[in-house]
Every structure is written in C-alpha cells, then in structure tokens.
Amino acid sequence: MSQAHPPPVSDLELVRQANSGRQEAFEELTGRYEERVFGLAMRMLRHQQDAEDVTQQAFLSALENLNRFRGEARFATWLFRIATHAALKVLRKRKGAVSLEWAAEDSDGMAAPHPEYIADWRETPEKLAERAETRRLLDEALAALDEKHRVVFILRDVEGLSVRETAEALGISEGNVKVRLLRARLELRERLTREFGDPRKRVAGHGAR
C-alpha cells in the first residue's frame, strides 16, 4: 500500500506551505496530529468535553502562531507544548487555584518508591494488550498517579517525547523530568505487577543491598 502513495511531505515543509497561504497544508498537519493531541488531552484530563475544548484551542493557537514556529523544535513537540499548557490550565481551574507545586523541583530527590511486589508477569505485553480489561487497568493505574508524575509519563513514554522535549513542554528542568518519570514508572510497575504478576513467580525480599 505504501507504494501507492508519494513520499510524505515533512511537517516542516507543510508549515512552510501553510505560512505561505496554502490552507490544505494546514489541514494536512491537523489530520496528522489531531488524534494524538486529543489522546494527550484525554489522558491528562479524563473528560471528553474538556479534551475536545483543549484540542480545539491547541489547533486554533497553532494556526494563529504558525508564523512564529521557526523549526527549532519538532512541530509535534511545539504542538504538544501548546496542548499541554491548555490542559494544565484546565487542571488548575478545576483545582480552583494556581498550583505552585507544579514548577517546583521535587524535594524528595531520587527517593523513588521501593519496589514491593516483584514477580514475572503471567503474559507478554502483546497478549495483555489484546484484552479489553487491560485498557481499563492501564487507565486506572495512570489515573492513580500524582498529576505531575502522570503528565511527565504521558509526554515521555506514551507520546514519545525526549526528556528535553518533555522539560520544554512543561517548563520544568530536565532533572525534574527524570525524577518524576522514575516515580511514575516505578509506581505504574508496582500497580501493574500486582495485576499481571504471576504469584507463583513472586520474588521475595528485595532489601537494600
């Protein structure tokens, strides 16, 4: 099937075309990223109407500011940054106050949660991914994370941004991204292993050595 299509035009080229007035180029960019922006908003907000609002805001803002996009970052990163900011605004509004905690460095340093339940999983991720209940368990585990850890995990591990891009999107330091990411990964590992781990293959006692 791929042979039937001409090679894809790069995002940067589409931005250039859109900036010179070609509407179809902007529509192509929208088509490339709307699902991912919507997914990012859904994962961050867990509310469809809010996610739709954020997605629309993000693309409107991208359209308005496209001529300021200079290509220092990937277009996707730039767009995710806009969407992330819009989603964070919604989260702050929900809380009724500006959360100062957000930009603050994590004071607990590298003190991540110590692994408690350690066991080989009963099935491969491929097999697990086929099950409907897996989706629910993944959503629940992600929702249980602290917001600042969750957002970093979504950008880095779900959306595939680099540590640096994640830091830029959130306006926090790379060091802080790493600390939060480690926490998120360890907490998710703990929860998922309690669900997917094979009790017969549980490894006991993981004391500090």
Binding site: G21, Q23, E24, F26, E27, T30, E34, E35, R36, F38, G39, M42, R43, Q48, A51, E52, T55, Q56, F59, L60, L63, E64, M110, A112, H114, P115, I118, A119, D120, W121, T124, P125, E126, L128, A129, T134, R135, L138, L142, F153, D157, V158, G160, K178, L181, L182, R185, L186, L188, R189, L192, T193, F196, G197, V203, G205, H206, G207, A208, R209
Partner: protein, 84 residues
C-alpha cells in the same frame, strides 16, 4: 553497585542512555540479583504496554466541528487569499 543505586539509574538504563561503564556495573549487579532483574523487566513491559496502548478515538462530530472551526479561523486570517 547496590540495589538503591541501580534504582536511581533505572531511567537511563531502560532508555539506553546510561554511560557504558555504568551499564556494565548495572548488568553485573543484575546477574547476581534476581529481584532487580525482574523489576527492570517489569518496567520495560510496563512502558511497552502504555506505548502499545490503544489510542483514544476522536468523536466524528467533534472532528467535523474542529475542521469547520479551523476553516473559519483560516479565512479570517487569510481574507485576501484565494480559497481552495
């Protein structure tokens, strides 16, 4: 290397950005520490699951509304340009 030290380097190891010398130490520790081995494997699988996770489907009505909104905005910003 102790388990605690290994935990602190987990990101770099899993992401493949760890210093080669430390990577060796990391692997030497894991070879003799089954719990750490399993934790690293669990973490890799956790990340894989989320990466493979289903995408949220955008509702069709929303997609249409979004495209229409963007078309209107585009026309506002490009009044002099020929359309389409």
């Amino acid at each position: 290397m102790k388990c605690e030290e290994l935990l602190a380097m987990l990101n770099e190891y899993v992401d493949g950005t760890v210093d080669p010398a430390i990577c060796k130490e990391f692997e030497r520790h894991m070879a003799g520490c089954n719990p750490c081995q399993v934790v690293v494997d669990n973490i890799r699988k956790t990340i894989t699951l989320y990466k493979k996770g289903e995408r949220y489907e955008m509702p069709v009505e929303f997609r249409e509304r979004l495209h229409e909104t963007l078309r209107i905005k585009w026309r506002e910003r490009h009044p002099a340009k020929r359309r389409g």
